[in-house]
Amino acid sequence: MSFNRRTFLRGAGACIALPALESFGLPRLASGASTATTAAITNAPVKRLVTIGTYLGFHTPSWFPKETGADYRISEVLEPLEDLRSDFSLFSGLDHRASNGHKNWSNFLTGKATSGISMDQIVANGIGHQSRFASLQVTCGSGGEGRMSFTKEGISLPSIGRPSVLFNKLFSSDADKARMDYVLSSNRSALDLVLDEARSLKRQVSSRDAEKLDEYFSSVRDVERKVQKQRQWLEVPTPKVDFKLPDYDPVAPDLSLECEAIMYDLMALALETDSTRVLSFLVPGQGQVFTIDGEKLSAGYHGLSHHGNDPDKIAEFNQVGKKQVANFGRFLSVLNQKKDAQGRPLLDTTAVFYGSGMGNANTHNNSRLPALLAGGGYRHGAHHAIDRGNETKATPLLGDLFLSIMESMGVGQERFVKASRNMNDYLL
């Protein structure tokens, strides 16, 4: 892979003119959240969430360590994380007890086959108003078939696959901001006009229709508030960063490992500049033939994932997995070096959940998913194997881990689909 390591390091140690957004405080028109919730969010120990899913997953026997507890021997695929093992916990045996199949990858963050809200979006709904972007969704190139983040209406959120597009969104030029400011400010008179129309309409219609129109009034008012908030963020200068993008976007599918590394850099910058606090990254997988350490692999990535337990294919599939894990490891290291507004390592206040909605790509099985939780100030260092031999009601689900993560971010939930407990015992 010819991604230039110097580019990466320059980005990592970037000199940043960072407006102290965290000290800027919550915008006055933050949200309709109750004071109690807002207090919970403000006092929560974890401020940021990153969720990462690789579409084709891993060869899990090469991913899960054989031993459990703190003294486990690092597995083949996780080897690049050896030096970071005190920064994360590994879980085996977790899933949502949801159905299997090609199309069910997306239950990774939603917990069920039919679409519902994903965990990252529950968090974004709770804490998103604190930053310029409530959440950002990222992938590499066209991204392929995968869908990871869903709104409560079950709509999958589109992802940004070009590094240059993500960069421009995060650190938009003055010209772009001027245009956006113009549109937002002039929208006011458009909304005034339509509200005026709605008022005259309301005088003509039946009382039942007038009730229906109230939906219109309250929706427009809500949008007005949102417009106001967006304008407030425009007044806050976009951070200036010294990061050099390559002069092409690595959107070609065989460059997705390279794209992945750049996306991680940009994600770290997005967190450092407090542009967003919720990031979701879908690492795509298609038929591309990767070149690893100068050697082209013998088959396409998707073909390798259907390895049929052929050891040669598994070895090559693991080569890709290992590179992905290495990219992820560098991301964790960068978050360890970068500091938040209070001078703490970013990783300490950022929960990073890494895994896949695919338990076994060879059979398209969505159970016993790879699951890793890093950062966030949790107790780390161990491999927790969940005993699925004699399942009881107390056997944790992946959703229970989500409940713990959400709780530590100040957006505690009673349930997450089938899960209603939590995994605090493993983490606190």
């Binding site: 199949g101 190139g141 066209s142 709104t151 209406e153 079950g154 709509i155 999958s156 589109p158 696959g161 070009r162 549109v183 002039s186 929208n187 008179s189 458009a190 909304l191 006009l193 339509v194 129309e197 309409l201 003509q204 039946s206 039942r208 229709d209 229906k212 129109l213 939906e215 219109y216 309250s218 929706s219 427009v220 809500d222 949008v223 949102k226 092409y248 976007d249 690595p250 959107v251 070609a252 599918p253 065989d254 460059l255 298609q286 038929g287 591309q288 033939v289 070149t291 082209k296 013998s298 088959a299 396409g300 073909g303 259907h306 390895h307 049929g308 337990n309 052929d310 040669d312 294919k313």
Partner: protein, 866 residues
């Protein structure tokens, strides 16, 4: 039903005086007390129904529903229940007549609430308003379904996220007709060198050998047959010079490779087809020695250059039909065998193992060849056994073609890409998108001529507002938009910006987003709107607008003319897919994946069963066939896929053909088509209760209430020990269940001969594991018998069909109500339903044509009242 006007006159005069309240006359009160209040008093409230009242308060929205239901169950004899004391016919007549009168008074046709445009209606409206193709972004919320349809006024809620979307889309749509001024980036001329290792490879599209990139296949999907540079894309629209160094690897007789250069968006889909891309240049490569090929090509911004070996003999593309596909691929394999008998012998020895694919398969074969001891002499590629073997291998089409590619990478023929360089832009060209946009802007703005701002703005906006509001806007309304434009310009913005802003407002206007503001009978414009959205999902076209403006549309003759005109319009396909897709639940089908033990299922099978039903309903509409055709048709549409499900002999073809059926048979019609049978099951097993409930709702027009919350669903016994009927009988021994199940079970069981994908069966399947394989065997026999509530005995689905044809008004009423609910976006009230009954009877007497039914409904008071 007969009404006895004299008997009730005195009662009516009494209620009329009270207006919104009907006091119960003594006879009615006595009737209720004697026959109903045992269960439906204020304390017991069986089924959540209490009739323990002295008067009916019509201002309570539940009253019409409750008393409408009372009327119906008395008419049908469903209440009082069999075991209770039964009233005389005369007593029932008395109370029914009174109820009928007060209900007609108080539950008149009409009552649709303000309807927000549904998703498709909105898309079509924006598109027709701005005359640009338009679809909502993926993030757009979907509409909720109520009463089987997603266009129900009550459920078309407007939420803050949706409003935010409307505003964002309004800005984007305004941008697309009036783009904000942008400067074009100045891009310097540059040369990019692309080495063989710097191309995107997918699967086996290419292979690096001895420092060159070798290609051997012409497969059409890019991810299977093309390569492109992974780090080059045009940074601006322009002419670029491309130089490719190519050579012919292992030339063979009678084949000169042709190489095409194609353009593609660098972040486009990997499975786009080479045949669908723009060809930039083509070269013949006759020499085994590398030569340079040069072309000047036009690229749009963000495009890259694809190399495709156009006439490579090896291809994984489908011929027509799977067997041709297999034939084609096995023939390619046999060709390899003809050239290399040893390969053939080794391959036959190797066979196929589950993980074989590409290099790993080839390596296994080559290892066998290395080992030697093969009977190469005895290998004859023309031996039928070899042919059969090749066909067998071809069932693994993807793996096989990949493996043949790997073989050809060493054996040839192929082309070698030594180097590519792209220099440019040599000169800029007009950006395609920019040209198209300019044209849109010119058309949208028209010519200013010598008009002042106000006049020019009015010329642009007045027709636009009329069209958005679907009626001529008042002067006052238009004035407000003009003011927005003029004020904006006065604040220092451009005139175009003012129009842009007015357009943003217009697309968020309640007059645009909602329809049906006026009360009572629809006026000309609301009538045009309702009719147009009903039959085309689009706002009124020019002809309808004209008819409405001239005040003639409400004239029954004109209304019928326009209805029949739209029914012939190509846009009626929107009605067919939306109405049929929801009424018959075809929209659920893509979500259902049949159990792989039942059959192998793919997208084409799914397409076949959906298309069958769509073509079937389209023909009934187009030909004005009687509505009995839905139940018992003499035709259907087949291709080899659904024909196989029905065990009907059919040529081996994917093409849908109209086929005659014998009436009265098992298959055909909505009670026999695989689409409906699959939509009413879950892909794994059938549940007669679910199918029965579905039939009552969608065919018999007698929907049953939700089961009580604490009753568990009857789960089929998958071990096959107990029949579903046995399980249900136990369930139905409970009297509170029996009431509804007497209605649900007979029609539900009548469909039991159809398995979850609509195949006929006489036995339920049981599965046995034998070694690695699962074998299906006949289990318990299917028992599809039942007795309808009027005593009709059903032996199987053919009896249910006969019952419905003989009592076609049952189905007619159901279909007509569905159509009317879909058209008006409301629950039907008592008045609506009585009108439907009259229409259904009348249409039946006139031949029962489906088109005629739609026309009669459009002409009805129900359709024409808000």
């Amino acid at each position: 039903m007969k009404v006895y006007p004299l008997a009730v006159t005195f009662l009516l005069s009494f209620t009329a005086a009270l207006g919104k309240v009907s006091e119960l006359p003594e006879q009615v009160d006595n009737f209720l007390g004697t026959y109903c209040l045992d269960c439906h008093d204020a304390d017991t409230r069986k089924g959540e129904v209490s009739l323990d009242l002295l008067e009916i308060d019509w201002t309570d929205p539940h009253s019409a529903k409750t008393w409408g239901k009372v009327f119906e169950v008395l008419q049908s004899g469903e209440m009082p229940p069999e075991k209770k004391k039964q009233p005389s016919d005369k007593e029932v007549h008395g109370i029914s007549s009174w109820l009928s009168q007060v209900l007609l008074e108080n539950d008149k046709p009409g009552g649709t609430v303000l309807r927000r445009l549904g998703k498709e209606e909105y898309e079509n409206s924006v598109s027709s308003l701005l005359k640009i193709p338009f679809t909502v972004p993926r993030s757009f919320p979907t509409d909720l379904v109520s009463h089987g349809f997603d266009n129900h006024g009550e459920e078309l809620v407007l939420s803050p996220p949706l409003m935010a979307q409307y505003l964002e889309i309004a800005t984007a749509a305004a941008d697309s007709v009036l783009p904000p001024p942008t400067g074009r980036r100045n891009v310097k001329k540059d040369t990019v060198d692309i080495r063989p290792g710097e191309f995107t490879l997918n699967f086996t599209t290419g292979h690096i050998v001895d420092g060159v990139l070798r290609m051997v296949t012409s497969s059409d999907p890019l991810a299977r047959g093309s390569v492109w540079p992974n780090r080059f894309e045009a940074r601006t629209a322009g002419v670029y010079q491309v130089k490719v160094d190519l050579s012919y690897f292992k030339p063979v007789e009678n084949h000169i490779p042709e190489v095409h250069l194609l353009s593609r968006r660098s972040d486009g889909s990997n499975f786009a087809r080479a045949s669908g891309l723009t060809k930039l240049a083509e070269f013949k490569v006759p020499e085994a020695k590398a030569s340079s090929f040069v072309a000047e090509v036009e690229l749009q911004r963000g495009e890259t250059i694809v190399i495709h070996y156009e006439n490579a003999p090896l291809s994984s593309d489908q011929g027509k039909g799977r067997s041709k596909h297999i034939g084609r691929i096995s023939e390619q394999l046999l060709d390899l065998f003809r050239d290399d008998h040893e390969l053939g012998a080794a391959w036959m020895k190797a066979g196929y193992k589950r993980s074989d694919r590409g290099w790993s398969w080839l390596e296994r074969i080559e290892a066998i060849r290395e080992k030697g001891g093969l009977d190469v002499e005895g290998f004859d590629p023309e031996n039928p056994k070899v042919k059969k073997f090749a066909e067998g291998m071809s069932r693994q089409a993807v793996s096989l073609v990949e493996t043949m590619c790997c073989y050809l990478f060493e054996k040839g023929p192929g082309i070698d890409v030594h180097h590519m360089s792209v220099t440019g832009p040599i000169r800029l060209i007009e950006d395609d998108e920019e040209i198209a946009r300019q044209k849109i802007t010119e058309r949208f703005m028209g010519k200013r001529q010598d008009r002042n701002d106000r006049e020019y703005a009015a010329a642009i906006l007045k027709p636009l507002i009329d069209s958005a509001f679907r009626r001529p806007a008042t002067e006052e309304q238009v004035e407000k938009y003009l003011q927005v434009v003029l004020r904006h310009k006065a604040e220092g913005h451009r005139f175009e910006d003012g129009i842009h802003l007015a357009l943003r407002a217009l697309l968020c206007s309640p007059n645009f987003l909602y329809r049906g503001h006026r009360q009572g009978q629809l006026d000309e414009h609301d009538l045009a709107t309702r009719l147009s959205f009903f039959l085309t999902n689009c706002p009124p076209d020019a002809s309808l607008q004209k008819a409405a403006a001239s005040g003639k549309l409400s004239n029954p003759k004109d209304l019928e003319f326009h209805t029949r005109r739209l029914l012939k319009h190509t846009r009626v396909k929107n009605f067919l897919s939306s109405f049929t897709g929801q009424w018959l639940d075809l929209r659920l089908l893509p979500e259902i994946m049949p159990d792989s033990r039942l059959l192998n299922w793919n997208e084409k099978d799914l397409a076949a069963i959906i298309t069958e039903t769509e073509l079937f309903v389209a023909e009934i509409l187009r030909e004005n066939h009687p509505i009995e055709t839905f139940i018992d048709p003499a035709f259907t549409y087949l291709n080899k896929r659904n024909a196989k499900l029905y065990e009907i002999k059919f040529p081996n073809s994917e093409k849908m053909k109209r086929v005659d059926l014998k009436k009265g048979g098992r298959h055909g019609g909505i009670l026999g088509q695989a689409s409906v049978m699959m939509a009413t099951a879950n892909g794994v097993d059938t549940q007669p209760v679910l199918r029965g409930v579905w039939l009552l709702e969608n065919v018999l027009g007698d929907p049953v209430p939700e089961p009580p919350p604490d009753v568990p669903a009857v789960e089929p016994d998958t071990m096959g020990a107990k029949s579903i009927r046995e399980l249900l009988q136990k369930h139905n021994s409970d009297a509170s269940c029996a009431g509804c199940h007497k209605k649900i079970d007979p029609p539900g069981f009548a469909l039991e001969n159809f398995d979850p994908v609509g195949r006929w069966r006489d036995h339920y399947p049981v599965y046995e594991k034998v070694g690695d394989k699962v074998i299906r065997k006949d289990g318990l026999p299917v028992d599809a018998t039942g007795t309808m509530k009027d005593g009709t005995i059903l032996n199987d689905v053919t009896d249910l069909k006969r019952y419905l044809v003989e009592n076609v008004d049952i189905f007619g009423n159901c279909l007509a109500e569905k159509l009317l609910v879909y058209a008006t976006g409301r629950d039907l009230g008592f008045g609506d339903r009585r009108e439907v009954e009259k229409i259904v009877k009348k249409v039946r007497q006139d031949g029962n044509g489906f088109q005629d039914l739609i026309v009669a409904l459009v002409l009805s008071e129900s359709f024409r009242t808000k």
